[in-house]
């Protein structure tokens, strides 16, 4: 059973509404890395649930295309000492989903993946998936640098820009991507202004006329009271 079929079952199980009859027993959910599987949660309409289930049960790329993408996304976002490679974060699955979610991506993406075989054949007499790492890089180099590339590869550059965009955004919207980025938010906290050392570093300060008016963290528990002029008195 491939991943898509697995997902289809999982989703049917979680909806419990028999949206997608499969005739199999639902399997236990496989927690794959840090990714959440299933449709978006939270206040969904029936139409949204059905659409997400349908898209997740479907796939756009062929096995051959997936193999090309696995190679490329790891070239764009490789593993390093601080962070994993794109395939470890299932970036190809994300790109596959986006093809279905925003179908205007389909033709340019598929066109670019087809061009890879054309170029591989011209240069090396092989398909792209048969190339060595060095040969792959030779092709990537043709289209990876928009300001320096040969105008003859304009279409390839545009496609690689799209692939780079989706790969990078798929990478940085994972837990590992957040960790690498150093994002500290998305958690309850009390904002009390820019840290002093950061202000000092940039030679900036909060506007002094509001010093006594800004929120004081210790007041967050007290119900506010005003006088008739709108001044806070308690």
């Amino acid at each position: 059973m491939n991943r898509r079929e697995n997902l289809k079952l999982l989703f049917t199980g979680s909806l419990g509404a028999g949206l997608l009859m499969t005739g199999c027993e639902p399997e236990e959910q496989v927690v794959s890395g840090q990714l959440f599987e299933g449709g978006t949660p939270g206040g969904r309409t029936e139409e949204e649930k059905i659409r997400d289930a349908k898209l997740l049960a479907d796939s756009f790329f062929t096995e051959e295309e997936r193999k090309k993408l696995d190679t490329l996304v790891d070239i764009i976002m490789p593993a390093d000492s601080e962070s994993p490679a794109a395939t470890e974060l299932k970036v190809t699955d994300f790109i596959d989903f986006m093809m279905l979610d925003q179908p205007s991506y389909q033709t340019p993406m598929r066109g670019g993946l087809m061009w890879l075989d054309f170029e591989a054949d011209e240069k090396f007499g092989k398909t792209f998936n048969e190339l060595s790492k060095d040969q792959v890089i030779e092709i990537v180099e043709l289209v990876a640098w928009p300001d320096k590339s040969d105008p003859a590869y304009e279409g390839g550059v545009r496609w690689f820009n799209l692939l780079r965009n989706l790969t990078c955004t798929g990478y940085f919207t994972t837990e590992a991507g957040w960790k690498y980025m150093g994002y500290k938010g998305n958690t309850p906290n009390v904002w009390d202004g820019i840290p002093q050392d950061v202000l000092d570093k940039h030679g900036l300060s909060n506007p002094p006329q509001y010093a006594n008016l800004y929120l004081k963290p210790e007041d967050r528990g007290k119900v506010v009271e005003w006088d008739d002029e709108g001044n806070i008195i308690g």
Binding site: T45, F97, T187, P188, H202, L215, R220, V223
Partner: protein, 580 residues
């Protein structure tokens, strides 16, 4: 579809159509006065405190599209508002090659689930623009009429800000504002040297409690996802649901109102609606009908309310029903701040919007356009979501190595990954939101050839910007460049010029449309009177932004709330006096 009409046994004192800012406020005030109320909402119920409705604090990897927008959530997969510009089965059309985009939210709370919570009072001048510049008309009421209601709204709902004493930006009862973010201080440096004021923003989030029923802000920057502890304002969490708990309020969801029903004397008797659940027609009866379905939707219902007494629809004899439709102007610009590349990491989510803004600061007598705009600012280390890491084919050049050599655009590999980390949080920008001049020729009307999937005739729009708005957008662009450049930012993109009307957003895009049922003392040039009571039908009221004579350079919600409260008080008084 079935045309079986079901008469509901229930009769109410008041039926309110729509549960957004206007309808929500009316439901609260009228039910607290002891009246029995039916709220009829075209979408479903929604409560962000329930975990099954919660999108707040969910990271992007819980969305298979990583938070990207969809047709019904164009502002992102976690945005609370359900509907969008293009709703399946609920079309609208346009006329004469013009454009108007209509944003709708089909749910309890309506578009208050989406908005930026910018909560500005209209000032004394905003009610008298016709007298000031000779364009358009004055409101039949002034700031003093609404001030007591603005005060009450501040205290009931909560808004942070600072007392500034600016004549046309009236102060209110403010909660303490949050301190600025780093990019806001950089922008302020630019604004200061351009002589442009920047003051703490005025947003309806609770930095301190106003009562013991709602929580206080915990600074996650996600108000647009709806707050599970009700620390921000939305009509569902702060008005409709509390009203249902306290008073006699029945909520009818998935109920698409077709028309206001009337008797032979021209009085409203209730509403007729289609249930989206069973596609059957239902009728509800009441002594008073209140429309709060949004400026355009309420106008549509009135136009479709044809009867023997009102052969052209209710309010149509004024000749202005649907006319003077106007939205705010909008234009934006973006830059990158070299000083913010490689910046220190800390949690700067803050509230769900800017911490500082610029109110209108100039004198139009010295300018070549008539009305002002305010400026909203954005930037910072926001949550990485769909879109983060994109555009490196044009942005990477702004990152320099230790020798000052710029990175090449595009690329791949470990160096690209590092550059995305280095550039994070260094872009910033601003958006102008301005006042347009209401025009008789900008309007919505019933399209004679198109119905929605409930069989209800749909709206057709005709809308053109004038030179006033285009010149204002040009001024915005010049201002944006001045502020960004003075702040030390590098401008991104090309400056929008006349070929794009200086980047002026299409009408409807700012989602501040008003004016379709405008108020006035003269029934031949207005649809409702100064109490938002329909001239032709004295037990029918409009509480959304339809009655606005002019839409200031402020966001309309605070004024919708204040006006709806005032109208609701009038309804209670008129019922007591048996005038309706």
């Amino acid at each position: 579809m079935s045309f079986q009409i079901k008469e509901n046994a229930d009769s109410y004192d008041v039926i309110i159509v729509g549960s957004g800012a206007g309808g929500g406020m009316a439901s609260k005030v009228l039910s607290e006065a002891g009246l029995s109320v039916a709220v009829v909402e075209a979408g479903g119920d929604f409560d962000p405190a329930k975990d099954e409705d919660r999108t707040q604090l969910r990271p992007p990897w819980e969305s298979p599209r990583r938070g990207a927008g969809t047709r019904i959530r164009p502002f992102g997969d976690f945005d609370a508002a359900i509907g969008g510009w293009d709703i399946d089965g609920e079309p609208y059309t346009r006329k004469n090659g013009t454009q108007f985009d209509w944003f709708r939210s089909r749910m309890v709370g309506g578009r208050t689930n989406h908005w930026g919570r910018i909560s500005l009072r209209f000032g004394p001048n905003d009610f008298k623009r016709g007298s000031i510049d000779g364009l358009g008309d004055d409101w039949p009421i002034g700031y003093d009429d609404l001030k007591p209601y603005y005060d009450r709204v501040d205290k009931l709902i909560g808004v942070f800000g600072t007392k500034e004493g600016i004549y046309n930006e009236p102060d209110g009862f403010f909660l303490p504002p949050p301190k600025p973010r780093l990019h806001e201080l950089f922008i302020k440096k630019g604004a200061d040297s351009a002589g442009i004021p920047m003051i703490p923003s005025r947003l309806s989030m609770l930095t301190r409690p106003i009562n013991n029923e709602r929580g206080v802000c915990f600074f996650c920057n996600q108000c647009n996802r709806a707050c599970q502890i009700y620390a921000d304002f939305s009509a569902g969490t702060c008005l409709v649901h509390p009203a249902m708990k306290k008073g006699k309020v029945d909520l009818y969801t998935y109920s698409m109102v077709r028309k206001v029903t009337t008797d032979d004397h021209g009085n409203a008797t209730g509403v007729s609606f289609v249930s989206k659940v069973d596609m059957k027609e239902y009728k509800l009866r009441s002594r008073v009908v209140v429309l709060g379905a949004s400026a355009c939707e309420s106008a549509r219902i009135m136009m479709n309310s044809k009867s023997k007494t009102f052969p052209n629809g209710i309010g149509a004899d004024s000749g202005v029903l649907g006319r003077y439709l106007h939205d705010s102007t909008g234009a934006d610009r973006m830059g990158i701040m070299p000083d913010l590349i490689d910046r220190e990491r800390y949690n700067e989510d803050g509230v769900g919007g800017m911490h500082m803004y610029t109110p209108w600061w100039l004198d139009n007598k010295k300018l070549d356009f008539a009305r002002g705009y305010h400026i909203e600012y954005w930037g910072g280390m926001g949550q990485p979501a769909y879109g983060t890491g994109m555009s490196m084919d044009s942005m990477r050049q702004y990152i320099k190595d230790e020798f000052g050599n710029p990175s090449p655009n595009g690329g791949y590999g470990e160096g690209l990954k590092k550059d995305i980390r280095r550039i994070y949080g260094s872009t910033l920008g601003m958006s102008g939101r301005g006042e347009s001049i209401p025009q008789y020729d900008n309007y919505c009307e019933i399209d004679p050839n198109v119905v929605d999937k409930y069989g209800i005739p749909v709206l057709r729009f005709n809308y053109n910007w004038t030179d006033q708005e285009i010149k204002q957008a040009k001024h915005m662009q010049d201002t944006f460049e001045e502020i960004l450049t003075n702040a030390g930012a590098i401008l991104l993109g090309k400056k929008p010029g006349p070929e794009t009307k200086y980047g002026l957003a299409a009408p409807g895009r700012i989602i501040h449309e008003v004016g379709t049922t405008r108020m006035g003392n003269d029934r031949s040039s207005s649809v409702v009177n100064s109490n938002c009571q329909v001239h032709d039908c004295k037990n029918l009221f409009v509480v959304d932004a339809g009655p606005f004579v002019s839409q200031a350079d402020k966001n309309p919600t605070w004024t919708i709330l204040a006006l709806s409260w005032r109208t609701s008080d009038y309804i209670v008084e008129q019922l007591k006096q048996k005038n309706i």
